[in-house]
């Protein structure tokens, strides 16, 4: 049957341009049609004021800007309405465009996801950008708006669709286009501050390739996204602060070669990414703070020769990376703090010669405690500390586990002690 046939009653063809062909003519695409087959989910649209009420029992219609939204009616036909019974936590209706504004302190609505949960696609259209995500949402209460009332990729909801059963690319694009037509901002391309945008959004299973090219602040942006297994090659070239950006993304098995060349702080950036087995050779040449950056990445078996030439703090940087067996000759020439840097790297056997030849400070407190260094490696470390010439400030070095130093290492210890160092090594020399 030809789609353009005047006898055509097929209604399921959706073009990427948001038009559905019906009976030979184009009619506006409606996201509600994505539930026509009885699919579970929800569809919220702040632009449809008839679905908004001030009280959570669906009474007292929202009529003007500044009215609170205690009831956000589901347009999918599934009666998965979002409600907020506590007055202080209700989003506020605003116009131009019509949207549910969030204070990111306590505002949110709750949906009770039915038995079986939702596993599919979420299209979230906000005042700052619109995107489609893969999601797996368990049955039970689910936040619409700020996660925990606090974390949200924008400041207002224009539209939100969640469907149990993944949307096709065309369906997702058409839904996004529909929401944008209703007033949502299409791209995140103008956003500079992504701080906490997707924090603790544990339901996100796949993240879209959105435009983050203007982003400078990625603090805690994806922290706690525990269901993400991979991450797209976003444009992070303007990013300067990646503080805790991917902390606790425990399911990430790989990480892309994103542009971090402007990054200054990588504090806790990938801490606790326990499923990462390798790490790309990203550009960290501007990075000064690597404190706890890869701490607890327990599956990392190797580490690349990244540019750490500007790094001053490496405190706890690789603490607890229990699968690391060797370490590359990174540039530590600006480093002042190595406190607990490789603590608990229980498989770490190999440290290259010369790693600390040009360091600026001698705080190696617990740096190599509970490691498995070979005799050559502990000798390499001690000789390199001698070469550094550090004879002022904090001068502490600890090693336990692995091998004791040879006579070469012992001679280095003698020199270090003569320079005021407190040195503790395996074997007790």
């Amino acid at each position: 049957m030809a789609i353009d046939s005047p006898f055509d009653t097929f209604t399921g063809i959706i073009s990427p341009f948001g038009q559905r062909r019906v009976g030979g003519g184009a009619v506006p695409f409606s996201p509600a049609s994505l539930f026509a087959g009885g699919q579970e989910g929800l569809l919220l649209g702040a632009f449809d004021i008839d679905t908004l009420f001030q009280v959570s029992d669906g009474t007292t219609p929202v009529t003007v800007a500044t009215d609170p939204i205690g009831y956000f009616g589901d347009k999918s036909g599934n009666d998965n309405h979002a409600t907020q019974a506590t007055a202080a936590a209700r989003p506020i209706y605003q116009t131009g465009p019509a949207r549910a504004t969030l204070n990111k302190v306590d505002d949110r609505l709750l949906v009770t996801v039915p038995t079986g949960g939702f596993e599919g696609t979420m299209v979230l259209a906000t005042d700052q950008g619109t995107a489609s995500y893969g999601v797996a949402i368990p049955a039970g209460p689910y936040d619409i708006g700020g996660r925990g009332g606090r974390h949200f990729p924008g400041n207002a909801i224009v539209g939100q669709l969640i469907r149990d059963g993944a949307l096709s690319e065309g369906e997702a694009a058409a839904t996004e286009a529909d929401f944008v037509e209703k007033g949502a901002t299409a791209s995140y391309g103008a956003v500079t501050n992504f701080s906490r945008f997707w924090r603790d959004w544990t339901e996100i299973t796949s993240f879209p390739l959105i435009d983050t090219s203007a982003g400078t602040n990625f603090i805690r942006a994806w922290r706690g996204c525990t269901s993400l297994t991979s991450f797209p090659l976003l444009d992070t070239s303007a990013g300067t602060n990646f503080n805790q950006a991917w902390l606790g993304c425990t399911s990430l098995t790989s990480f892309p070669l994103i542009d971090t060349s402007a990054g200054i702080s990588f504090f806790r950036a990938w801490r606790g990414c326990t499923s990462l087995t390798s790490f790309p050779l990203i550009d960290t040449s501007a990075g000064t703070n690597f404190r706890s950056a890869w701490r607890g990445c327990t599956s990392l078996t190797s580490f690349p020769l990244i540019d750490t030439s500007a790094g001053t703090s490496f405190r706890s940087a690789w603490l607890g990376c229990t699968s690391l067996t060797s370490f590359p000759l990174i540039d530590t020439s600006a480093g002042t703090n190595f406190f607990e840097a490789w603590y608990g790297c229980t498989s770490l056997t190999t440290i290259p010669a010369g790693l600390f030849d040009n360091i600026q400070g001698g705080d190696f407190t617990e740096a190599f405690t509970n490691t498995d260094l070979t005799q050559t490696s502990i000798d390499n470390v001690l000789v390199s500390l001698v070469t550094s010439g550090i004879a002022t400030g904090t001068r502490v070095f600890n090693q336990s586990g692995g091998s004791a130093p040879s006579s070469t290492g012992e001679a280095a210890i003698d020199t270090l002690r003569s320079r005021g160092w407190t040195v503790t090594v395996t074997g007790g020399y």
């Binding site: 009280v55 506590t86 007055a87 936590a89 990111k104 801490r271 606790g272 603490l319 229990t322």
Partner: protein, 135 residues
């Protein structure tokens, strides 16, 4: 105007009773729940932010009456009055105090909380326990 309120841990129960008196029903007992904010001394606060009418501040500081909906005497009016006695209203942000219910006017809730000296609680241990505790 938008009012942003910082409720210290010790006043949460009383403040939720006051929220019911000034609010609309028993669900307003959930106004101050999560202790997600802290001051420089580590004191924890539950915070709320909402638009209110000009009359609200007067009402909140006047003699409290049990609301008509509370026919079952759900509200502990003594507790509500204790919270009211601890209430500090300010048209500009002032520093939150651990023995006061501090309510400040400001269009941007997050900016107001920052100006009140509060930051979001971030629980990440920094000891050398390799078994991570992250929340």
């Amino acid at each position: 105007m938008r009012l942003t309120i910082a409720c210290p841990d010790a006043l949460r129960d009383d403040a939720n009773q006051l929220a019911m008196v000034l609010g609309y029903g028993p669900s307003d007992a959930e106004t101050y729940v999560a202790l997600n904010w802290q001051d420089v001394d580590g004191n924890l606060y539950a915070c709320a932010s909402l638009p209110v009418s000009d009359a609200f501040t007067t009402t909140a500081q006047s003699g409290l009456q049990r609301p008509a909906w509370d026919t079952d005497n759900i509200i502990d009016m003594d507790a509500a009055r204790r919270a009211q006695a601890a209430l500090v209203f300010s048209l500009t942000p002032v520093t939150a105090m651990p023995d006061k219910l501090t309510a400040c006017v400001g269009d941007d809730a997050l900016a107001t909380l920052a100006a009140m000296g509060l930051t979001q609680v971030e629980v990440v241990t920094e000891g050398n326990d390799v078994n991570l505790v992250i929340s």
